[in-house]
Subunit: 344 residues, 2 copies
DNA sequence: GTGAAAGCGCTAACAC
DNA sequence: GTGTTAGCGCTTTCAC
């Protein structure tokens, strides 16, 4: 027996297919008793609308696209943040019978924009979640905008007025972490910056400077080294920092992967963490609790952010006319084992 | 200007829409010169076939569904293997202009099978990749089978004759790892078993026993503790093992997450790895290289497996009639820092 | 409130 | 080799 279609339901319920369509799409103008009959017929035939047909007729699917920077473009996949986003988006999708399409893409290739346009035109997603750092690249944002597909930008670094975005308080929470480190008695707190193209991560550096100032510590260029978000860059930076005559007593890395690299190097060099060196990260990916000592970090609410993003898309609140204010989901400090009082 | 459709292309090329369709779908029976004209028209109009329409007419989409056990159902997402699979599947999709749908699902809920059936009927994927341990659950396999959708099972534990599957040599490679540990002089090699529902992981336990025997070591129940694939279970098992009067000198865990847990406990207890204790895992997820000491493990070629699976699906080689032999992608030892000669 | 009819853009079956 | 003609199962428009 083939699947029931809208005609079967209409016949069984004694109504027209349009009425069935109305019921299925929760449109108004259906008498309660009619709706009931239709619902019953739907249940009886275990009818499920065919998505392809819906898409074709409505020019829209029930797919949510999650677009992010392709970790495969790097040697070591720094994938913790991807899982967090997926989980959030999936939670929202599940409760709305939508499905999640994942689409990593490499912004370093010339035709990313064209690729995204194709993706959208071919799959007609109900919406796109655009992750950082893609979300702060005008070329990419414009390409998606041009298709007219609702989308939300995750952590764009700087929200703009016209497009909906969800971010976290990178700067404030980084300042808070810095103050926490200072409160532990640390005077020489080093910072490892993240990938240059990632604006939100750059805000963490600003927050570090804020925190220093708020703690009465003065900022020094010498305590800042440039990483690129990868664990290897974290290791390289740590080596640079820890082989100085006057090494820092605390290192704050702009993300967890780099902080994990710092801890690896400390182990190798026989530097005890946190007795001789405090280490802090940012993101709170699963890795943070899997290494030893467990990493003190700032919990970026990426799961919640992605969930909110998907929900907004599903609710249709990201359309053209929507002048929605950017949302901010606050980050929170996670004090664990890798930080402690400064050594005397 | 709206997007070009098949009629526009047909008109510009001076052919019928059917011919355009043939060209687009690489069907035979098109004269080369005709194909060329059509291709040119396609390029000129930057025509891209509408997937919804294709799906509706052909009852099949260009989506590949990746179905796996939902890590969100656990406390700590053990997500390394998910990323590896996604990456492999994505590689194959990318070169075939297909997209990847991810669908974690919890096999502990009663209606998983019905959920999967809905997913398939609604999205009409070109194929499904079913990851372990779902791939060894008859209820789930049957549900997908019933929809007639091509699918491939990843690491089903035991391949069956009728359905295509891709696995690795869990048993042989585990034996190899065990022999390697024995060759280092270890006599008391403990084993932490994995989640009971995961058949392929159970094969690793068999391999451990093989390896012991091949090395002239005798198997002892006392050296086996039961984990559930999570890092916490690895920690719990390590505590049990290391607080004995006669602790093992090497611990082989059935997966990397548990091995990471062992290393965490060793750090906490002040046990040097690998000087006092060798630790080995299985999977080679990114985590293996992010902890200290870097984990000696068996590299499960999950990325390649998933890629092959997606390719097979895209090539349409997993249909009903296909009596394809199961494929095996061999695993390989990755010797790193967490293993060394047995202490005297 | 409800329904009839006209597509959406493509593939499939068959004719030529 | 190539074209014609029906659908695929729904949404949309507009009439009632």
């Amino acid at each position: 027996m083939p699947r029931a279609n809208i005609f079967d339901v209409a016949k069984l319920a004694g109504v027209s297919i349009k009425t069935v369509s109305r019921v299925v799409n929760h449109e108004p103008n259906v008498r309660a008793s009619t709706k009931e009959r239709v619902d019953q017929a739907i249940a009886e035939l275990s009818y499920r609308p065919d998505q392809s047909a819906r898409n074709l007729a409505s020019h829209r699917s029930h797919l949510i696209g999650l677009v992010y920077d392709d970790p495969a473009a790097y040697e070591l996949p720094t994938s913790g943040y991807i899982i967090k986003m997926q989980q959030g988006a999936l939670t929202a999708c599940r409760s709305a019978f939508s499905e999640l399409l994942i689409h990593p893409c490499n912004y370093r290739t010339k035709d990313v924009a064209a690729q995204l346009t194709s993706l959208i035109e071919e799959t007609r997603p109900a919406g796109i979640i655009l992750a950082a750092p893609l979300s702060n690249m005008p070329k990419i944002v414009r390409a998606i905008d041009a298709t007219g597909t609702p989308f939300v930008r995750l952590s764009p670094g700087k929200p703009d007025e016209k497009r909906f975005s969800i971010g976290t308080n990178d700067r404030e929470s980084s300042a808070e972490m810095t103050r926490y480190l200072a409160s532990l008695g640390h005077k020489r707190i080093a910072f490892i910056t993240g990938h240059a193209s990632h604006k939100a991560v750059a805000n963490r550096f600003l927050g570090y400077q804020d925190g220093l100032q708020q703690s009465g510590l003065k900022f020094s260029e010498r305590l800042v080294v440039a990483g690129d978000n990868s664990i290897e860059s974290g290791e390289a930076c740590a080596e640079k920092l820890l082989t100085r005559k006057q090494p820092p007593t605390a290192i704050f890395a702009a993300n967890d992967d780099m902080a994990a690299g710092v801890i690896r190097v400390a182990h190798r060099m026989g530097v005890d963490v946190p007795e001789q060196l405090s280490v802090a990260g940012f993101d709170d990916i699963a890795l943070a609790r899997m290494i030893h000592p467990a990493l003190t970090t700032v919990r970026q609410p990426l799961t919640e952010m992605a969930q909110r993003a998907a929900e907004a898309l599903i609710e249709g609140k990201c359309g053209d006319a929507s002048e929605r204010a950017p949302e901010t989901v606050p980050a929170t400090l996670q004090i664990r084992e890798s930080t402690g009082p400064a050594a005397r």
